[in-house]
Symmetry: C3
C-alpha cells in the first residue's frame, strides 16, 4: 500500500539541519545531543519556564521527556507544548515510566491533553498511557511490543498523535496505518537513553515538514539500520554506543534504503 521514500527523509534532515528543542531527562541529555548531531540535526536543551516558549518558537520541533521530571519541569513542558502548538511546530511526547508513579501518570495525562504530534515510548509506557497496562518498573519495558499494538492504535485514534512503540520490532501507527520496523541490535537496550535520544530523531524528522506518520517511520528506520550496522562492530554496550554514533553519522541513502526492514499495513 503506502510507501515512504526513506532516503528523501534522511536527505532533508541533513540538508535543513533542523533545530530540535528538547526538555529531556538528566540521564539522556548528553546522549540525545550527540545522537542529534550525528544524525545531522541541531540540538538545543533548555528547561527554564522563562525561555522555553522562545526556544519552542525558534525550533523546527520540540520534544518533551518526563524521565527525571519535577513539578517545575512539567510546568515548563506544558508551556513548551503550548508554544509549539501556537507556532505550528510539531512536538513529541516521551512518557518515560509513565505508569510507575502518580506524578508520572498525572504528567503524562496533562501533556497528552495538549495534543502531541507524536508519542514515542516502549510497550509498557504506551500501554500505561492508553490505560491498558499498569506500566513497567523503572524505564525498561516489561510488555512485548506486539502486546502493545492494540494500545498504540487506541491511543493514536483517541489523541490524533502518531504513536511509536519501540522494542525488538518497532511499531508506528496513526490509527489507520500500522508500520513495523525491524532491525536494530540486541545491545541497544543495554545502552541507556538510546530510546530517549530516538525521540529527538523523531523530532528532527517531524521538523522537515513531511507527513508525521511517514516522518516517524523514517526516523525509526534510520535508527534501526544504524543499530544493525553498529552491532557488527561492537563487542559490548560500551563499544556499541560508540559504533552507533559513528554508524548514524555515516548512514547514507543507499544503505538506508537497502537495509531498512519495513512493513506497512492497515491498522485493525
Amino acid at each position: 500500500m503506502h510507501t515512504i521514500d526513506l532516503a528523501h527523509h534522511l536527505g532533508r534532515v541533513r540538508e535543513t539541519r533542523p533545530l530540535v528543542h528538547n526538555i529531556t531527562n538528566h540521564v539522556a541529555m548528553n546522549t540525545m545531543a550527540n545522537v542529534l548531531l550525528a544524525h545531522g540535526a541541531s540540538p538545543a536543551m533548555a528547561h527554564a519556564r522563562e525561555e522555553v516558549g522562545e526556544f519552542a518558537a525558534l525550533a523546527g520541533a520540540v520534544t518533551l521527556n518526563i524521565g527525571t521530571l519535577s513539578p517545575d519541569w512539567v510546568n515548563a513542558m506544558e508551556d513548551a507544548a503550548r508554544a509549539a502548538t501556537d507556532a505550528g511546530t510539531p512536538w513529541v511526547l516521551d512518557p518515560v515510566a509513565v505508569g510507575a508513579t502518580a506524578l508520572r501518570r498525572e504528567a503524562g495525562a496533562r501533556l497528552l491533553a495538549l495534543s502531541p504530534t507524536a508519542v514515542r515510548g516502549n510497550a509498557s509506557e504506551i500501554m500505561a498511557l492508553a490505560e491498558q497496562g499498569r506500566g513497567g518498573q523503572g524505564v525498561d519495558s516489561t510488555d512485548t511490543t506486539e502486546a502493545a499494538e492494540r494500545a498504540a492504535v487506541v491511543l493514536a485514534r483517541r489523541t490524533g498523535a502518531v504513536v511509536a512503540v519501540t522494542g525488538e520490532t518497532d511499531l508506528v501507527t496513526d490509527g489507520k496505518r500500522l508500520a513495523r520496523v525491524a532491525g536494530g541490535h540486541a545491545l541497544m537496550p543495554l545502552v541507556t537513553t538510546l530510546g530517549c535520544a530516538l525521540t529527538g530523531v523523531v523530532g528532527a524528522h517531524l521538523a522537515i515538514g513531511e507527513e508525521p506518520f511517514d516522518a516517524c517511520v523514517a526516523a525509526l528506520a534510520s535508527y534501526a539500520v544504524a543499530g544493525s550496522i553498529a552491532g557488527e562492530h561492537a563487542s559490548g554496550p560500551g563499544s556499541f554506543a560508540v559504533a552507533f554514533l559513528d554508524a548514524l553519522h555515516a548512514l547514507d541513502a543507499n544503505t538506508l534504503t537497502a537495509r531498512a526492514q519495513l512493513e506497512i499495513t492497515h491498522a485493525t
Copy 2:
C-alpha cells in the same frame, strides 16, 4: 576465615535484574545507568520529592549521592531513605566531597542518621564522615586508602552500616570483618563518576538479599576485575571507559572467580 561465593552473587544479579533507584549527581547519571545495565541490573533515576517514596518502594535497592546536591534534593534523599527503610529495602549512601562545604557536612550527617545499609566513598570522604579528616578537595581523594581503614571501622561500628572505601586497594568492613579488594586499573580514577557508578553496583548486589558485607565485597570484586580487564584494552581514559562497560557486561563467573584478588581478615 570467611569466604564469599562471588560467582553466586554475580549470577543472582543477572538472574533477578534488580531495579536500583538512584538519586545521584548530574555528572554521574548517564555513566551509572550504563554501568548498571552492563552489570545486569535495571536503573531508575528520579529525584522529585513527589515520587521518590513510590520509587523506593518499587526498587530492590536505593542509592543516594550528594555530588551535585541542593537543599531540595537532600530533602528528597531523606524521603527516599525513609521509604526504603520502611519497605525493608537496602540503601547506600555515597557522600561525595562530604568534607568540602557546610552544606555537604550537614547533608552527610542527616543521611547517615537514617541508617544506610552501606556507605561507599573514597578515603577522604569516609574520614570526613568519621570526623577524622577534613575532607579532600572536590571529589578526588587526598588521603590513602590505608589511612582510612581506621575511620571505616569506626564508622561501621558507630552506624551499623557496611563501609566501603574505594581506592587503589578497596576496603570493606562491617566493623567486625575487613576485606581488601585489589585489582582495577590506574586509569579508573581518570574516568569521571566510575566511583559513583560503583555505588549503583553495590545497590544491585544488596538487592539480591545476601548478607550486606558479602554483597558489598562481591560488587567491588566484580568492578575491580572488570577494571583490570578493561585496562588491558585501553590506551587512555576515553578507550578505558568504553572497554570497562564491555568488560563488565562480558564478565562471567569463571573469570570473576579466577581473577578476583580478595583478602578477608578480622577488623581491629
Copy 3:
C-alpha cells in the same frame, strides 16, 4: 612578537592538578569532568547557592556556563563569580546561546558585569555579547570565526576580559594582542559540549597563575593539537570523542610544541 612556552603551561597544569569548580550545563557536565581529568586537572561540579562560594574559594579557577540556565542557577553563578573575585581566583564565562532568549541576554549581561577573567564562546555568542550580532540558533554558531574578530576585540577592550572565540580557527584577544590557533578537526563540532569542556580547560590553565592571555592561548592550542591527533584515529563522532580523551591524556610537551599552529599579532 610575543611568544608563549606552551610546554611550560601544559606541564604546570599536570604538576599542580588545579581544582576547577564548574557551574555548567546538564549536557556538558560529564564530558567536562572527563576532559579536565584527561588534561590533568581536578574537576568539581556544584551549583547550590548554599555552597558555591565555599567551592569557589577552594578552587584554582571557576567556570560559569549558562547552557541550561534557570533563574536559581544564575543567582548561584553570580555568587560564585563574586566569591572568585573576592578570593583573587580567575573565572571564565561561557555564554552558551546568549543571543537566543531574553533570559540568556540578561544572564549574560549580569555575569559580564562581574568582570570575568576570560570569556569563551563561538562566534555568534561573542557577537551577541558584544551587541554586534543577534545570536545563533541554539548552541551552534551561524557566524564565521573571522567575522567575530572585531566583536572579540571590542568585548575584550570594554570588559578587560581575555576573549576566546572558538571555531574552525580559534581567536584569542586581550584587546591588544590577537592570537589565531588553528588545528582541531572537522568532527569536533559534531561531539556535543566539547566547546563547553574547553572552557574548563581554559579555567585549568588560568589556575596556574600565568598571564591570562597566554593561559587561554595555551589551553586552546593543547585542545586543537589533541583534536588533530584524535581525528587521525576516528571514523565518526563516537570514536572521535573516545580518541579525543585519549589524545588529550597522552599529549606531551614535544608533541604540543611541534604540532601547535599559532600566530600572534597586534589587535587592530
